[in-house]
C-alpha cells in the first residue's frame, strides 16, 4: 500500500497558540482516512495543509515523497482536490459549474461525472440556484472530480446537510473509494466518520491522540482524554 502523504512533525502556531502540535503520520493511497476530533482540535487546519491552504510553522508534508513547497501550487491543487463544508457554487448552470476547473470539459464526460455523484444526466442543464443543499454538494464533488485529482479532501462534507442528503453523500464517498480514489475527510461526527472511512486519525487540542481502524479506537479516551462521553453531535463554529 503506497504512501500518498507523509506528515513529519507538523506544527502550526498562530499568535503563540499551538493549533497543531507535532503531528506525524502517513496517509495511504486508495483508502479513506477520517480526521476526527472536537471543535478547535485542528482537524480542518490539518486538512487544508494538504493542498497548502495552510502552511506549517514547523515540520513538513510530502506528497509521494516530494515536499509540498517544492511542487507547483496550482498543479498540487489539481492533484489534491478540496470540497468545502458548505456547497459553494460558482456558475449559473451545472454544466458551467463542472467547467470551472476544466473549461474544455465535454458534455459526455460531464454526464459521467454526474453519474458518479448520483445525479441524473439532465441535471447538466439545471440552474445551480435551484439546487438543494445536498444536490449542490454533489455538484461540488463532481466539479472537484472533473479536474482528475489523485486525492479528494472533504471538509465536513455532510455537516450542512439533512440526514438523507448526508447519507447519499456518504454513499458516494464510499463508491469513490471503492473505485480507487483516495479520500481524506474531516468530521466531528464519529459514527459517520467510522462508517465511511478505512482509517481514523484522532486529534485533540492539536495533538494526534489515536490512529487506526475505526473499530480499534477507544474514542472517549482519544477524543476527550477520559473514559466518558463522545463528541458525536458537536459542530465546529
Amino acid at each position: 500500500m503506497a504512501t500518498l502523504f507523509s506528515l513529519e512533525h507538523v506544527s502550526l502556531a498562530v499568535n503563540e497558540r499551538l493549533i497543531l502540535d507535532d503531528v506525524t503520520d502517513h496517509l495511504h493511497e486508495g483508502r479513506c482516512m477520517a480526521i476526527v476530533g472536537p471543535s478547535g482540535s485542528g482537524k480542518s487546519t490539518l486538512l487544508r495543509m494538504l493542498n497548502r491552504f495552510e502552511e506549517p510553522t514547523s515540520g513538513r508534508i510530502l506528497l509521494r515523497g516530494e515536499p509540498l513547497p517544492g511542487l507547483d501550487v496550482t498543479e498540487l491543487r489539481r492533484r489534491v482536490g478540496l470540497v468545502a463544508q458548505r456547497p459553494t457554487l460558482l456558475a449559473e448552470t451545472v454544466r458551467d459549474e463542472l467547467r470551472v476547473g476544466v473549461p474544455e470539459l465535454a458534455d459526455e464526460t460531464a454526464r459521467q461525472l454526474l453519474a458518479r455523484v448520483a445525479l441524473p444526466a439532465d441535471y447538466l442543464e439545471r440552474r445551480t440556484e435551484g439546487l438543494s443543499g445536498g444536490e449542490g454538494q454533489r455538484v461540488c464533488l463532481a466539479r472537484a472530480l472533473a479536474v482528475g485529482p489523485e486525492v479528494l479532501l472533504l471538509d465536513e462534507p455532510t455537516s450542512a446537510l439533512d440526514g438523507a442528503s448526508a447519507d447519499a453523500v456518504d454513499q458516494i464517498v464510499r463508491d469513490l473509494v471503492a473505485d480507487g480514489l483516495t479520500v481524506v475527510l474531516v468530521s466531528h461526527a464519529l459514527d459517520r466518520a467510522a462508517a465511511v472511512s478505512d482509517d481514523v486519525l484522532v486529534l485533540r487540542s492539536g495533538r494526534l491522540t489515536a490512529r487506526g481502524r475505526a473499530d480499534e479506537i477507544n474514542f472517549p479516551t482519544a477524543v476527550l482524554g477520559r473514559g466518558e462521553g463522545a463528541v458525536a453531535g458537536e459542530a465546529d463554529p
Partner: protein, 257 residues
C-alpha cells in the same frame, strides 16, 4: 481683472449666503451650524492658500514646479484612496501607482500630440482634474476588492482549490469591481452638457471664452478622464490582486470592514 470675476468686496458680501445657510440650520435646529461655519472658513483659507501657491507656481516655478505639484497631488490622492480600503495589503502602493500611471499616460499622450501645452497654468488644473478622477476610481476599486476578498472568500478558495491561478480565481470579482468603478465616468460622459455643465467648460465660459471654444476643452477633458480612469482601474486592480495573495497563492486574511 475680468468683469465676470467677483471682487474681494463681492467675496466678503457672499458671506451673507453662509449666514443665510447657518440661519436656516439654526432655525430648523439641524445642529450643523458649527460644521457649516467651519466648512466655510476652511474653504476660504484653503482656496486663498492654493490660489497663492498656484500664482507663484505659474509665474516662477516653471515645468519642473508644475510636475512636482502634480506628484504631490498623486501622493495625496493615493493616500486618500488607500484609506478607503484599510487592511488591504499594499493599498497605498496600488492606489498611488494606479493614479500616477493613469495620469501620466493620458497627460503624456495629450502633451505629445500637442493637444495641451506644457505651461504650468494648463498642466496643473488639467492634471488636477485627471488625478481627482483617478483617485475616485482607485478608491472604488480598492474598496470593492477588499470587500469581495472578505465576503467572497469561500468562492475564491473554491476556485483556487480547483487549481486555478490566483488571478483566475479573482477574475470575476475584479471584472465586477472595475466595471463598478468605471461606470460613473461613462455615465457622466453620456449626459455631459445635458444634465450638467462640467467644470472646465464652466470655468472657461465664466472667464469669457466663447462656449463653442470652451466645449473643445471639455471634450478633451472628458475623453482624458475616460482613458485615465480605465488605466487607473486596470493598474490598481492588478497591483491590489497580486497583494491579496501570498507566494503559495493563498488569499491573505483581512478583518471585516
Amino acid at each position: 481683472m475680468s468683469p465676470n470675476v467677483p471682487s474681494w468686496t463681492g467675496v466678503v458680501a457672499s458671506v451673507a449666503l453662509v449666514v443665510l445657510a447657518a440661519g436656516i440650520a439654526r432655525r430648523g435646529r439641524l445642529g450643523v451650524e458649527r460644521d457649516l461655519l467651519i466648512a466655510a472658513v476652511r474653504a476660504f483659507v484653503q482656496l486663498v492658500a492654493v490660489g497663492a501657491v498656484l500664482s507663484f507656481l505659474f509665474l516662477h516655478a516653471g515645468l519642473l514646479g508644475a510636475l512636482a505639484w502634480m506628484a504631490a497631488m498623486v501622493a495625496v490622492g493615493g493616500y486618500e484612496a488607500s484609506r478607503r480600503a484599510k487592511g488591504l495589503p499594499g493599498a497605498l502602493r496600488s492606489a498611488t501607482l494606479g493614479i500616477g500611471i493613469g495620469a501620466v499616460t493620458t497627460l503624456g499622450i495629450l502633451v505629445v500630440f500637442r493637444v495641451i501645452s506644457t505651461e504650468p497654468r494648463v498642466l496643473v488644473p488639467v492634471g488636477g482634474m485627471v488625478i481627482s478622477g483617478c483617485m475616485n476610481i482607485a478608491a472604488i476599486v480598492l474598496r470593492g476588492l477588499r470587500t469581495s476578498a472578505v465576503e467572497q472568500r469561500p468562492q475564491i478558495e473554491a476556485r483556487l482549490a480547483l487549481g486555478l491561478h490566483a488571478r483566475e480565481a479573482l477574475a470575476p470579482l475584479v471584472r465586477s469591481t472595475v466595471r463598478m468603478a468605471t461606470i460613473p465616468a461613462i455615465d457622466t460622459t453620456k449626459v455631459v452638457g445635458i444634465i450638467s455643465l462640467p467644470g472646465a467648460m464652466t470655468g472657461l465660459i465664466l472667464a469669457g471664452v466663447d462656449p463653442l471654444t470652451a466645449i473643445r476643452y471639455q471634450i478633451v477633458v472628458m475623453y482624458m478622464l475616460l482613458a485615465a480612469g480605465a488605466v487607473t482601474a486596470l493598474v490598481t486592480s492588478r497591483l491590489a490582486e497580486a497583494a491579496l495573495f501570498d507566494d503559495a497563492q493563498r488569499l491573505r486574511r483581512m478583518p471585516f470592514a
